[in-house]
Assembly symmetry: C5
Homo-oligomer: 331 residues x 5
């Protein structure tokens, strides 16, 4: 559900200058193109087509971008244009109440002196740590340009990925503990849910690894050599994230497979009990049935020790059955 | 079933000129080779060998192409010749009535000033949006040449791929909802059908990704630098499409595996009920059988409290069985 | 089983000249080294060591080749020497009677003006269409040299691959139709046989893709630029073939997996019937057993309405069991 | 659990000089920057932020490193800076008491004349063999610089990896021996535990292979050409390690799959016994039941040979059942 | 078990000279460094450390090699040094008595005029064909240098790989024949053993493919251009070997999977028989039980045709059950 209001905010800063601009009208944006300071324009909500068109014209964006920024189903990607870099990613966050993963589409246009972020406007952003650091005069953000700001934004987003992925470690242990405690009730539903979730994460996060590599290897003049080690660390984090997803996928598969084998084992237990009981008693019941018949001439019925012998036969039969099962290792 | 009639249409346009040509005779095609305007010749149906040969001679195509255009079993591919580019893809559309996927083979020959599309002529094309945009004077199609038209055609085709792939999202949710509602009736048939369909999509669509990459990287002079960002967006869409197919394949496999495990679980439930009931009653029936025998000397039958004791034994036996099963966790 | 006779044939042709040479003695081969015409020497059967040695000396082949040509267990490969190219493939054909796949090893030595094919001599070759086209004066074969002849030979072989692979489409539909018709009798044997066959095809055909790529990329002066588009089409056909094999492998795996799940479903059906029946009747039989005992003091036997009440108890017991199963969804 | 005390040690050596420095204060570290000798500073424990900051300033490390050294969740990586190389790995060792794998995070900064190791300070290190060799005057360590020391440290770590991986060979044989001895009790738990452990090893060790390759290919001037063959042997060891992990993963999967099939086989055995017994006795019990009825007019009861014939029918019935099962191969 | 004696042999040869040297003392080795002849020194057994050290010094080997030659757990590898090439492989042979695979570690040092082989000394070598060919004056071995000798040694080793791998073809057919003959007894043990064996082969042989490629691509001056086609054929053989291993792995997996499905099918058969029998007889036995009760007022017992009607009810009940199962397709 899209919120009604588009939220706009802009920050203009340099090493010894910081200003938050409240722009009700677009006109103020002109000032932000000034190359002496770095500007961050953050637009939260894509429903105001007029606003997007103004920005498109002001910053002379490629016509393709105007369309792409509004298409929130896009896959993460990185594209270099002459004057700016275009980046698309998904921001993930974890709803503290429902424990569901919230997704928010984000497009970033990085120019030499300005950076514009376009949020889908659904789930809120993860930028608070950046706003906070930006206001501190000695922070690295203030010392550096839009390339470092790009790093900072992606770093926050990737940190959220990793914290979401790492919940799977706990979940897999939870399933393991249920295994140990012989609670098999909802394990299958749990595993299914986790598998679907990790498939979703894999699809969402994997292309970001590629994106990070392209960003690090980019020879765009927007990116200063000093920033490259930071971008390299993004690549490393993404490698960590995708490897963790892969490992958790393998672990969930293993757990499911082990679970299925446990069920088969349990089935064997159940049927061993049934078989042992049935096989021991079936002949006994038959023998009793024979001496319950009403034939006129049934000599065994009339001997004095018949009933004792009858019990003897029953016990011997049962005992030999039990001995047979013991030797088979079923008892 | 091939339609009888071959449908021909041609469009001739430039920035300030647009003409649809109804060509009953081939002669009019000569005029379309004129370099001052861009021409699109669309041939729907491959059964008129004579027509194909005329076009082959008029546009001086490679002899190999004459064969290949008529072979509708070909896999999507991209090939550069000196004077033109040759592209083959499958158009997919979804029959609105039967919900089946319709396939239509398409070959495209892209010259500097002309573009020829050869359709198999089975299922109809997906080009209506292009025809419509072409007739609007200020559209980008009119501003650009055959390279942009190629982009527009492939874009429409790939959009159809993506909308067909995205139906799988809903289908997987449908299966999931059936899981939840414990309707397991047709799940297996559904999963099987979806798996076969997605295998078909994978086979049909995957080579198009390669094709899009080759097209974007092509250094043919037919492709203007301005068009390259558009071709890049095709590559991105194909990456999105193939990743989605891969993810849905994994999800269907997971669902099938989970479904199988659910069946095993159900089997265990069924057999637990059978086992508990059988094992509780089998000894009781045996004991009753023993006292149904007709031995002359069966002392227990004649004591006054025998019948009461008999019930006592039955109840104790049943209770101890039930206690045993409760401890095993089967109740 | 090797045929006894080695079959030799040779064709000598140029644009306006065609001659089939019946060579009983090796001497005539000298004439074929003549650079003004193209010669194709076809040897069907490898048992005549003396003949092989003569050819080896006449055409100055590498000593390694003499060994390799006689080793029919080799994997498909492509190797460039200074004066000639060496190619090894398997020819596959489908025995029309037994529907079995026949394999025939083939080595090809391609010089600038001669081409020699060495067949294993087991199953016959697939070259008839080439012989026929060669005899037609205006055919492309006659217009071109050994490079085009190489293409023609490989094209015929690869066409046979594709027609053999495409049988799997029908087979998979056959299994599907058996599924639908609930005939599960031989499905497992069918799937097993198809799997083994497709494994064999994959092993035999996959290296040929590599071979085709190497041939197309070869910078040997034997291969004329005009022939390259034809070799490219071989690469495309091999890509088609290997992708089809891969898809059919996935489909067979899916079918096997679905089949196994169907069996589990059937097992559940069988055991549900057994369980419902057993559980309904087991207590009834027990109750009847109780009143079949011969205790002297068994008061219920003597009341007037006992038998009616007895039936009432039986019916109530059975009905409550059935109600229980209905609620569990087993009926 | 982090130990309270940070342990510091430093070694200063050259070909004919060796000194262990006990540095309570940071000041002594200044002396170690001296290019005429090689220095190894080992810091065991990361909790003393002040110490880390001093080292960071003294050796002029990149600000990113200060953060990364303290982040023990990092994935193994290799990064080249202008003046030094930064390496991160996990040290694994096997707790001799509990047989658990202990993990210790390690960061290494390699300068031209100094090498600093930062240990997490949890599980102890594996460096004793290095300390010992360093004190021997003619050892290769003493003859070479920091590049050889880096090799020596990584070599010790990788040797520990390999000895931990090789325990899996014994474990798989153990499972195999349990298979042979028909002990199936804890096999499933064992396999599950081994699978989880090998997943952990794979995740931890695989990136080190990449790291080793990057180190060997590095063109940093810190690494002398003489050391390259040693670094190559690290790459080989890591290839060995990752291949062994892969093989053991496949073997564990195979064992699990075989185990599951064995369970199914056992289930068949159990149910064959149940079926044969039930099917043989069910009709017998029914026949006995018929002649246990109390109908007034039941003529068979009154013939003299009825009881003998009755037994005859029972025996024939049972025998024909057994014959039927024998022919089906169930006996 | 290591043999006690180290076996030494050396061969010195050129085109027209061949001498086998029996060297009890190391001194004679000096003569073998003579560049006018090619020398092969073969050391079978690594326990004589003194000998190894002498060779190490005489041929000026890298210190790393001294260690590596003695480490028989190493993975196959190829390494180029300035003056020689170092190769490590495993020799496999098949014990003719036990049909077990024997492994023997082999290190090869190839100089320009000498080649040294270091065998582990466990299982014997596979070099007899080489010794034999070397003694023949016109053999290619005698015409060529150490590069060809290297090829000859590796060729013999790889031929042994392939003959060991090809046994799997027969084994898989054996399993198949057991399938056909319905002998399912030891299939599982067979498949397990073959799977473990093929895993071992894959681990041992796969790195040799890499090694062969590196050897072929090597630009070492030890390797003459004339030898390259021979080394290329080694690469092809290794490609053949690894592909065959892969195919057999897939085939064994397929067989195991099919086997498991066959077991499930058999289980269904068993339980169908049980269910049909139980369900048909359970109501009959119940009805007989009802008329076996001893109620005083049980009117049906006293009618004249009761017993006939009783049988009629039994038969109708049984028949309707059987009809029900027939319609379900279980009979």
């Amino acid at each position: 559900m899209q919120k009604n209001e588009v939220i706009l905010e802009a920050f203009d800063y340099s090493q010894d200058h910081f200003r938050q601009i409240d722009f009700s009208s677009i006109d103020k944006l002109h000032a932000l193109k000034n190359p002496s300071t770095t500007s961050w324009i953050n637009i939260d909500g894509l429903q105001d087509k007029e606003l997007l068109r103004c920005i498109y014209e002001l910053f002379e964006l490629h016509p393709l971008l105007l369309e792409e920024i509004q298409d929130v189903s896009q896959r993460p990607k990185f594209e270099e244009f002459d004057e700016y870099i275009y980046i698309t990613v998904k921001m993930l966050s974890c709803d503290p109440v429902t424990d569901k993963i919230l997704t928010e589409h984000l497009s970033i246009v990085v120019g030499k002196y300005y950076l514009i972020t376009f949020q889908e406007g659904l789930a809120g952003d993860v930028f608070n740590p950046i706003r906070e650091r930006m206001s501190r005069p000695k922070s690295k953000l203030r010392m550096n340009g839009t390339d470092y700001l790009t790093y900072a934004i992606l770093d926050v987003i990737i940190d959220n990925y990793i914290s979401i992925i790492e919940r799977f470690g706990e979940r897999i242990e939870l399933v393991e503990r249920k295994f140990r405690g012989n609670q098999t009730d909802n394990i299958l539903d749990d595993i299914y849910e986790y598998k679907m979730e990790i498939n979703f994460l894999r699809k969402t996060i994997r292309p970001v690894r590629e994106l990070a590599v392209l960003l690090e290897k980019s020879e765009s003049e927007i990116i200063d050599d000093k920033t490259v080690p930071y971008l390299k660390s993004l690549v490393d984090h993404m490698a960590h994230a995708t490897e963790a997803i892969e490992t958790y996928q393998i672990m969930l598969n293993d757990q499911l497979y082990i679970y299925q084998t446990r069920i088969s084992n349990k089935l064997n237990d159940i049927l061993r009990v049934l078989t042992v009981f049935s096989v021991v008693f079936i002949p006994l019941t038959f023998i009793a049935g024979v001496y319950g018949t009403n034939f006129d001439y049934l000599p065994e019925l009339h001997f004095k020790y018949s009933y004792g012998i009858f019990w003897g036969i029953l016990i011997v039969t049962a005992a030999s059955m039990l001995y047979y099962f013991r030797r088979k290792g079923w008892l």
